[in-house]
Symmetry: C2
DNA sequence: CACATCATTTCTATATTAGAAATACTAATT
DNA sequence: AATTAGTATTTCTAATATAGAAATGATGTG
């Protein structure tokens, strides 16, 4: 045995994971059924979780996720230095594809660079940690826009001015919306000289277990080398880089929330 | 005994609570010392929490909060219908002070009304659920601005135009900043006819365990009745309303994160 | 290089938990 | 309004899972 695992704690988290979108409330009966445990046991777990503040009773026997988890989640988000997590992954990625790479967050308007790895080949791009990239004309930006809730996207489109960043022709709102649909569908976005004439880029998202976009990862370089074929060939290593970041954030044992029967027994 | 409490789960959450601001990483030794448990036990809890994804190992024996908690926190935040939680509290508050009350969130620019209770006395204010109130000239807005991180406040002040909403004279940026400092210090803000000439308001924040502002609660009414003395007398019931909301969000047992020795020792 | 510190494993006694059965609520149906 | 059905909740007890002592392994320091 590697290390004695505390079954109660595991079960407690299994119960918390039952609060999926679409099931805001949980009762002992449902938890017991879903996890194959006795209802008495499920009830006791819910009571214990209530004591810790992880769930809150909303009516007799019905529980909701509690704000203690919101607090913990925020602490986790703040303490996780995403830059540091992503940095080594970017370096490996750049070593593999032999082009520069970077990672981004979104500030509501632009994509913000949080880490980057420069390829051996010199490149004249001024992007560094903290740089804010126009959203509508960058691979990162389009990825973020594609993952935005409808209303927020509409608000963005209402306020942004889609002017061409270089000599290339400007994009219309309709064209952008259409492109974002396919970006969302494929989980992949491109930038073909839209921000800087001589720079192409591909970007993929790092996703949370629930499908929310955590950060973007891109590979970019001179248009001469970053042909469509080259970019296509980068996709696989980029996806695995994204998967590595996800693993670093969530830990090893945390398999996807498959729910249904159970998973761990004894 | 009310209900058998699962000690392991309680301990697991005690460990998670040890990740306070300033302590991003935790080791078995520290957890054991802080909670008065055996190091072996602490180690096993950390391993179990790692399995659930609640913490992630960053180096031998050192753990950080994991992204599973970020996900859970988001679910908790989304599933908690703050409006419904606050509504009954507002109604009680309004019944007590005999003036209208409302609760707000902040969308980055304005205070958004999420619930309200109208007093028996008729009032000609057009605020309803969803209404967005200018921040710099309302009690709610100023409360939110006062709780904003410095950089975000600076950005707000750079973009907003501080024009008077009615015949009253306009406020300067300096005056506003000064007022916000005292709002923050007192956890209390006023609006004396700044948005609508004949309406005064007082607002207090609902805070998270870690001090983050969750929502604002205000009482407002015609200037004739809402004298300074009256508003002062409303503060106590407003504070207790805020405390009630906090209790509803966090549950009963979740005492403030006092840390130090322990708390539960069966 | 040896020591000290801390992480990790092994082993076992015992405290804790899981479940059966009984009891208390609550709500739906007639 | 009364009966019933379906859950929630409590009580009690056996057996399991956990806590801790001691041993071992890793890591970094004087």
């Amino acid at each position: 045995m590697v290390s004695q695992i505390n079954g109660s704690v595991v079960k407690a988290f299994q119960i918390l994971q039952l609060f999926e979108p679409g099931r805001p409330e949980l009762t002992a009966a449902i938890a017991a059924e879903k996890l194959g445990m006795n209802m008495v046991t499920a009830h006791r777990f819910l009571r214990t979780l209530e004591l810790t503040g992880a769930v809150v009773a909303v009516s007799r026997g019905a529980y909701q996720l509690g704000f203690t988890l919101v607090d913990l989640g925020e602490r986790a988000a703040n303490q996780t230095n995403l830059s540091n997590v992503v940095q080594p992954v970017l370096e490996d990625l750049t070593a593999t594809v032999e082009e520069s790479s970077m990672a981004s967050l979104f500030d509501g308007e632009k994509a913000v660079c949080i880490a980057r790895a420069v390829a051996a080949r010199p490149l004249f791009v001024d992007v560094k940690k903290g740089s804010r990239l126009e959203a509508y004309c960058t691979a990162h930006g389009k990825l973020w826009l594609a993952h935005l809730p409808e209303d927020q996207l509409a608000r963005y489109l209402d306020t942004v001015e889609l002017r061409p960043m270089n000599s290339s022709r400007s994009i219309t709102r309709e064209e952008l919306v259409e492109e974002l649909a396919s970006v969302r569908a494929e989980g992949l976005s491109f930038n073909r000289g839209e921000r800087e004439a001589e720079i192409n880029a591909v970007a993929v998202p790092v996703l949370s277990r629930s499908g929310k976009m955590i950060c973007g990862i891109s590979v970019f370089g001179a248009t001469g080398r970053m042909t469509d074929a080259a970019m296509q060939s980068f996709i696989a290593p980029m996806r695995s880089a994204a998967a590595r970041v996800e693993a670093l954030l969530y830990g090893p044992g945390a398999a996807a929330t498959s729910s249904s029967e159970s998973g761990i027994d004894t």
